[in-house]
């Protein structure tokens, strides 16, 4: 119901993409005017795009500090009921002009208009003056969302029912389906980049690492950078140096986030790429060419130390927390080592998890009990200068440090 109807809203052909079927090209393509009257109307209503001044917004508080810049909550001075999030575009590498990553982020946000993707309102700039050496700063202006998932999960007063967890995951997969449909990879799935409004609408955010992807053409593989995705959410193919990856990288992240809905903290907190691979092997079984044909061809397959003889224990270890059998089954399909076997967003949305009782249920009632915004940045456990940890419930920090010699991490689940 929910999922299939919202998916059917997704455009069959996106405006920026050329569709080769004649039926599509003939029916009013966006910039083609059926008649001159419509064209005239378009011209009359034409607004030249322009960059407004950031001073039209009044900053209220800082709500985020990522590797890529500061985020503020702000209010529209002309419409005090309208709240926005302002994300500064960092220009640290001025040597090479406007950052290509920011160009990508903007383009992708302009392209991806969807209920489950954060909405970019506009791009603003500060006025150039003597105090900023006549260089203006640019800001991305978003609709404000009250919470991020990392903030919510780190607050033990926030309790999700099974139906509510289903709603979160359904919306998350719906957003992923939409962005993958538009040939975009998110490449930074993690709880802090998942926003939730007070009405319980989930929005995927932070397209700072996102990019468009191609299906392989003429047999020439893509060569994307594999230095993407926060380590704890990074899938095995990236850790092994794959540069021709695709949408499955985001579904691994979705699996990690899904498990976190119950464990309340990231499930695999490696300190190094090697350690992350070890943690993955201990959960998902040894990485071998039998389990994952072709893995032996990945660049780092031979240089990484891959634990042998590990059994796959995804269901077994998550069961104590997750309890629900269908949930465990979906997790088991999301956390598959071989990306080609990992479930797609589309198939995941058809999984029984979303179609058996309790059905996905609205989050707004639960959220109404919390009047304070919850963000990772503002979470109380946050220590200055340290990666935020919010896993008081199940982990303590010593686990990841001591695991190497003791195998202690087995107790995580």
């Amino acid at each position: 119901m929910q999922s299939s109807s919202s998916r059917s809203n997704i455009p069959v052909s996106r405006s920026n993409e050329v569709s080769c079927s004649s039926s599509n090209s003939s029916n009013s393509s966006s910039a083609t005017f059926a008649n001159s009257r419509e064209k005239k109307k378009y011209i009359e209503e034409y607004n030249f795009p322009f960059c407004d001044e950031a001073s039209k917004y009044e900053r209220i508080t800082k709500i985020g500090q990522g590797t890529f810049g500061e985020v503020f909550k702000a209010k529209d001075k002309r419409n005090p009921k309208k709240y926005v999030a302002m994300k500064k575009i960092l220009m640290d590498n001025e040597k090479e002009g406007f950052p290509i990553t920011a160009l990508r982020e903007i383009r992708i946000l302009q392209l991806l208009k969807h209920e489950n993707v954060v909405n970019l309102i506009e791009i603003c700039r500060t006025k150039a003056n003597a105090s900023n050496k006549y260089r203006s700063t640019f800001f991305l202006i978003f609709d404000f969302c009250e919470h991020d998932l990392a903030g919510l999960l780190s607050n033990t007063n926030v309790k999700f029912s099974l139906g509510e967890i289903k709603k979160v995951m359904q919306q998350l997969l719906n957003g992923l389906y939409h962005i993958h449909f538009n040939k975009i990879l998110h490449r930074d799935m993690k709880a802090a980049n998942v926003l939730i409004t007070k009405n319980g609408i989930l929005k995927l955010a932070d397209f700072g690492l996102a990019r468009a992807f191609n299906e392989i053409k003429n047999g020439i593989p893509n060569r994307y950078t594999n230095r993407v995705v926060t380590l704890w959410y990074r899938p095995p193919e990236l850790l092994l140096g794959d540069r021709n990856y695709g949408p499955p990288v985001d579904l691994w992240g979705a699996g990690c986030i899904m498990a976190e809905m119950w464990t309340r903290s990231p499930i695999m907190q490696g300190n190094t790429e090697q350690q992350q691979l070890t943690l993955i092997s201990q959960l998902c079984g040894s990485i071998t060419p039998e389990m994952w044909p072709g893995v032996e061809n990945l660049e780092l397959y031979n240089s990484m130390d891959l634990p042998k003889g590990q059994k796959r224990k995804v269901k077994e270890r998550l069961k104590p927390y997750v309890k629900d059998v269908t949930a465990c089954d979906l997790l088991d399909k999301l956390l598959i080592l071989d990306p080609s076997k990992r479930i797609t967003a589309d198939a995941a949305l058809d999984h029984n998890f979303f179609w058996v009782d309790p059905l996905p249920s609205d989050l707004s009632k639960m959220l109404a009990q919390h009047s304070q915004s919850m963000f990772e940045y503002l979470a109380p456990q946050r220590r200055p200068g340290q990666r935020p940890h919010h896993h008081q419930v199940f982990f303590n920090q010593s686990i990841t440090k001591s695991f190497i010699d003791t195998g202690y991490q087995d107790r995580i689940f």
Partner: protein
């Protein structure tokens, strides 16, 4: 959604997201025709012929430099469209053509996912210039001049982004041409494909992309090709172009504009540069004059101005306000178009000379000085 994304022009079911008069859209920006007639350069006293020659020259530069940088054609196409659009926001008199061309190509290389180093872009332009001037070919020296130019290019890049409101992603008819030829079952005819592609690349030097949708431009390229190669196109049951939602008169108009390119006499770059240089000089003189008078005016005004101002703790008055009062009527009449309603914050500033009331419509303001 797919068919509704063109900014304001939308049916009512899905309100377009308009906020603060800004429309974020990936669609190509088409400009209303009256805006195309009086461009900012014409308003600055440049004649139309010089302007269109400058456009052609800039686009050719971008094309050649792109080839030397081994960029894909799509990047050169994007660069040229950005260049064309930019000079409907700003004038050639105030913003030098070559710096803008460099910035457009540099930005386009990033947009089209084939980033080139800024130094390489500058180097290639330097090389082209030496060839043109028949000077001995020497590499770009990394001196103070180089640093100054590099800063200018980086600033120009930001200015382009700002002026175009970050709508810098261009939909090109390249792919459309191939699709349409498939529909017309001409996709196997190499000669047709190649020639249509060539027309398309040449058309970038005209302003047809600001006047017409890429679909219409694609049709015009096919039309020109098939006429030249005497390949018949279907007329029944309806003329072929109706299949692609285009009108014959638009196709003819685009074709005419493209064909005009081939009739033009050879451009003399030095002559063009001289013309612009002269105008730039007189513009700068005028600007300095006004700046000076205004400093005096504002100094004179300072004691009383506080009383007449509504906003109480006002920041220091801008160095230059509207120029009306400081000039005699004769002065104003003699150069009615050169000095518009503008203010100067600083001559290097990116903010220069766009006046825009906070809630006003940009274009209305832009053209209301006359």
């Amino acid at each position: 959604m797919g068919s509704e994304k063109n900014g304001n022009y939308q049916n009512d079911t899905k309100p377009v997201q308009v906020y603060g008069k800004i429309v974020l859209s990936l669609e190509n920006s088409l400009l209303p025709s009256e805006k195309l007639i009086r461009s900012p350069s014409v308003a600055d006293g440049l004649d139309q012929e010089t302007e269109s020659n400058l456009r052609i020259m800039g686009c050719e530069l971008i094309q050649t430099a792109g080839i030397l940088l081994k960029l894909p054609q799509i990047a050169m196409a994007t660069g040229q469209v950005l260049f064309q659009r930019f000079y409907f926001c700003k004038s050639f008199v105030r913003y030098p053509m070559d710096v803008t061309a460099m910035a457009c190509l540099y930005l386009a290389s990033k947009i089209e996912e084939g980033p080139r180093r800024i130094r390489d872009v500058m180097n290639v332009f330097h090389h082209i210039r030496q060839v043109r001037c028949q000077k001995p070919i020497t590499p770009l020296i990394l001196d103070q001049q180089y640093i100054t130019l590099k800063t200018q290019v980086i600033k120009a890049e930001r200015r382009i982004l700002k002026e175009l409101g970050f709508c810098v992603h261009v939909k090109h008819p390249h792919k459309l041409i191939v699709c349409y030829l498939q529909v017309l079952t001409l996709e196997k005819n190499r000669a047709v494909i190649q020639m249509a592609w060539n027309y398309m690349n040449d058309s970038l030097r005209t302003d047809v992309f600001l006047r017409y949708s890429p679909e219409t431009v694609a049709c015009a390229c096919i039309y020109l090709t098939c006429r030249k190669l005497k390949v018949p196109l279907p007329k029944n049951p309806a003329p072929w172009f109706t299949l692609f939602g285009t009108e014959e008169k638009d196709i003819i108009d685009i074709s005419r504009r493209i064909m005009m390119l081939y009739k033009l006499p050879k451009i003399n770059p030095d002559e063009l540069e001289n013309k612009v240089e002269q105008l730039r000089k007189s513009y700068e003189e005028e600007r300095d004059k006004i700046r000076n008078t205004n400093v005096i005016v504002s100094e004179n005004n300072t004691p009383n101005s506080n009383a007449s101002q509504h906003k109480s703790p006002s920041p220091p008055p801008p160095k230059l306000k509207r120029d009306h009062d400081s000039r005699t009527k004769k002065e104003r009449d003699s150069r009615p178009r050169k000095l518009r309603d503008y203010k100067i914050v600083n001559s290097d500033s990116e903010e220069e000379c766009t006046t825009r009331s906070h809630n006003g419509n940009y274009w209305k303001k832009f053209y209301s000085y006359a």
